[in-house]
């Protein structure tokens, strides 16, 4: 008649685990599955599986991490089974190497600085140039595809990307020389 209260994962613990492991798991999964959506779905399924597991909350942190990696691996294998494919050996999870690189504070600091610096430079570009750069690099669309998407000529898109890259090159060179004049004149 009596019911026992299930051990639930504390939200702050879940957030810590997610912050620590989700980027690594996502990158590993992305290397193994072709679809970005599949990778995102697997990431969600892995952490939801942890929430739904009756024993996960009672595991040690190390065991919780190992558990999450195992579930991620199994989800990837499921994807391959559904597609009748097999992940190549070189694509298998190698969380130890990821751990080494990503947990090095100096490496993280340099990476963040570079990203912040580039974000600052991109932020100085006109909005349309920022948009086409996003479509070219983030969505990996070719100029013809971007042109179709934004309703412009391909030549216009090429010109926009060309101007954007030249400006970024110019900003970068000026910063390297110690200059602070980022004039935005065409």
């Amino acid at each position: 008649m009596k019911q026992s209260c299930p051990a639930t994962l504390d939200r702050s613990q879940l957030a810590q685990l997610y912050h620590k492991l989700a980027p690594k798991i996502l990158r590993s999964v992305q290397r193994q599955v072709s679809s970005a959506q599949d990778a995102e779905d697997i990431l969600i399924e892995v952490f939801v599986a942890a929430l739904e597991s009756a024993s996960f909350a009672s595991l040690s942190e190390h065991d919780q991490q190992a558990w999450l990696w195992r579930v991620a691996q199994n989800k990837v294998i499921d994807i391959y089974r559904r597609g009748h494919k097999r992940p190549s050996l070189t694509d298998q999870f190698d969380d130890s190497s990821l751990e080494e690189i990503s947990s090095d504070p100096e490496w993280i600091s340099i990476q963040h600085e570079e990203v912040d610096h580039l974000a600052q430079l991109i932020g100085r570009l006109p909005p349309l140039q920022q948009q086409v750069l996003h479509l070219r690099f983030s969505e990996n669309l070719r100029c013809a595809q971007i042109a179709a998407k934004v309703g412009k000529q391909e030549s216009s898109i090429r010109a926009l990307i060309s101007r954007a890259l030249k400006r970024l090159r110019q900003y970068h060179q000026e910063q390297e020389k110690g200059g602070h004049d980022y004039g935005l004149t065409e």
Binding site: Q3, I44, V115, L118, R136, K166, R169
Partner: protein, 259 residues
């Protein structure tokens, strides 16, 4: 710069980016900086895309987490209801046993009927007085700062914050918690509450809304229904709980969260 010397020239910029992406060997060493720029952009946008994915995924996971927490709090509520039912079970069994052992109504004499009526009346009085005693016991244990007046307008008999819940004893009221410690919101509904109602509890950390729990609550006319919802604070400071009944704010509780 001419067409051949500037890789960012409009006529070849798209192909140049593609070549760098595919790691195809480019022409001159002096283009090294341009290759680096394209590679940095690729890393930058890949990182932003990854952050977007992580944020989207986290939102979905949190939704599932809140759903799981809600089910868990419903379980906590079932504990209380089960224990109340267990307390009343012997009485019900006694009534059922009496009923089963009774001869058919048609054969009862007037004296037997009066005796049966008196027995039933006594049982009803006993159950009623037990419920009143339990209610008084709950109220006496509440801290004055969080006890809710027993007016007919308030749906709550009591509201309290505690670090734990107990299915048999009332939760001890607390106004100070620590980071990582679960803060339990425990309330007992008034016996007059009937029909389907919603109870919403909003949790604030230093003035910012951090979590919302909503619970559907069916009123139980003769038994006080208990609801328990919890949240764990991640930063020290001031905590606040807003209690809404059917969307209307009825109570605000404040407490401190220490490191």
């Amino acid at each position: 710069m001419g067409l051949q010397s500037d890789p960012f020239h409009p006529e070849q910029v798209d192909e140049y980016i593609e070549n760098v992406t595919q790691n195809v060997q480019t022409r001159a060493p002096k283009q090294e900086q341009d290759i680096q720029l394209v590679q940095r952009l690729q890393v930058y946008y890949a990182k932003r895309k990854e952050e977007d994915i992580l944020e989207r995924a986290w939102k979905q996971i949190v939704q599932r987490y809140e759903k799981a927490t809600f089910i868990s709090s419903e379980n906590a509520q079932k504990f209380v209801e089960c224990s109340q039912q267990e307390r009343l079970l012997p009485m019900k069994q006694a009534i059922e046993a009496d009923t089963l052992s009774m001869p058919s109504q048609g054969k009862l004499s007037l004296t037997q009927r009066i005796g049966l009526f008196a027995a039933l009346l006594l049982i009803v009085l006993l159950v009623g007085s037990l419920a009143v005693m339990l209610t008084m016991s709950h109220t006496n244990h509440l801290a004055p700062s969080v006890a809710v007046s027993h007016s007919s307008a308030s749906p709550f008999q009591s509201i309290t914050l505690s670090d734990s819940i107990n299915q048999t004893n009332p939760a001890s009221s607390m106004s100070s918690f620590t980071v990582g410690q679960p803060v339990w919101f425990v309330c007992t509904l008034n016996v007059q509450v009937t029909g389907f109602n919603t109870l919403t509890v909003k949790w604030y950390e230093n003035g910012s809304l951090v979590a919302t729990n909503t619970s559907g609550q069916r009123g139980t006319p003769h038994l006080a229904a208990n609801v328990a919802l919890s949240h764990t604070f991640t930063v020290p400071g001031n905590g606040e709980v807003e209690v809404l009944w059917n969307g209307q704010l009825v109570k605000t509780l404040t407490f401190s969260v220490k490191a």
